[in-house]
């Protein structure tokens, strides 16, 4: 049986350069938050560290979705992007709603 490479949007455009760039971006965005906590604790104000952690995490998630999962704004990805946006909405409502309820509950029980 003769097999051929199957052409799938996103996957077939994967390139060595993309994975290497994604790797470097991920390493940098992993080293920064670890260094912030290990060396910055006590030296920098906690709010700045929390902000830095959040920024680095969001940036790395976006970077990996782009470079590893090949998610972008091209037309063949519209469907996948819509699915992840809807998921983001559901997750946002659920996480923020739960934390809000539990925080208010906690403060009223004190």
């Amino acid at each position: 049986m003769h097999n051929e490479a199957v052409h799938i949007p996103g996957i077939s455009h994967a390139s060595l350069k993309g994975y290497i760039v994604g790797f470097i971006v991920s390493i940098v965005l992993t080293v920064i938050p670890f260094a912030l906590v290990i060396y910055g604790r006590g030296a920098i104000s906690a709010d700045w560290i929390y902000g830095g952690l959040a920024l680095a995490a969001v940036a790395q998630i976006v970077g990996q979705l782009h470079y590893f999962l090949h998610l972008d704004r091209s037309s063949d990805q519209t469907w996948n992007v819509q699915a992840i946006l809807l998921t983001g909405l559901i997750v946002g409502i659920m996480v923020c709603g739960s934390l809000w309820i539990m925080t208010v509950l906690h403060s009223r029980m004190m």
Binding site: I11, S26, I49
Partner: protein, 221 residues
């Protein structure tokens, strides 16, 4: 045949099905369109599964966040977590995500040996990650800091354990793929499975970013 554009494919997805239904003779070209279209649909469906898994992880993350300060007199993250150790664990998973990318590149070139080789490398890196995690869990439980110690530790073991269970299942899937590719080669079905495993594996690395940031780094602050 191997250099079809994306636009070609998305048109072909609906098209070839219609042509088959209309009873046209199925040329080699139509069959290839059929494979690609079927795999494309399977991949879209698997993406939806990944989205539901996102929601699962979001609930466990929320549970952890609510419990994150309920120490019940037990140890805090500051006393439990070893950041340099965690950095090593993180590197195992991150590098394994990249080496799985090399599996996909080898697959696109129809390089069977490359696929099997990089799958093995990825498997070993994933095994390194999960071994470090099991070792961490073992020492915590042995010291009396198991999931029953406090609300914080219940949340911790639920969240990190759910992720670890996913990685373990991914490793089982990967070992299966190593054997299937060795035995049957890069058939369209095996390519489809390899693509779905790639999505699953990269997704687990994305979730891990949330775990090391929210659980560990925030935990030692």
């Amino acid at each position: 045949m191997t250099t079809k554009t994306v636009a070609d494919l998305s048109v072909a997805a609906g098209y070839s099905v219609k042509e088959h239904a209309a009873g046209h003779s199925a040329s080699q070209e139509h069959e290839d369109h059929g494979h690609a279209a079927a795999i494309s649909r399977t991949v879209d469906g698997f993406w939806l599964y990944i989205m539901t898994d996102c929601i699962l992880f979001a609930t466990v993350f929320t549970g952890f966040a609510v419990m994150s300060h309920r120490y019940a007199g037990g140890p805090t993250g500051k006393e439990l977590f070893d950041l340099p150790y965690l950095f090593g664990e993180t590197m195992f998973l991150l590098v394994s995500s990249v080496t799985y990318g090399f599996v996909v590149l080898a697959m696109n070139r129809m390089n069977k040996g490359g696929v099997v080789g990089w799958l093995m490398v990825t498997f070993l890196l994933g095994l390194g990650f999960i071994s470090m995690e099991v070792n961490e869990f073992y020492h915590m439980v042995a010291a009396g800091n198991g999931p029953d110690r406090s609300g914080f530790l219940t949340g911790f073991f639920t969240l990190v354990g759910t992720h670890g269970a996913h990685v373990t299942l991914g490793l089982v899937w990967m070992a299966t793929m190593i054997f299937m590719v060795m035995k049957k080669g890069l058939t369209p079905q095996n390519q489809s499975r390899l693509i779905r495993l790639s999505m699953f594996w990269h997704f687990l690395d994305v979730v891990w970013i949330g775990v090391f940031t929210i659980v560990y780094l925030r935990g030692v602050m």
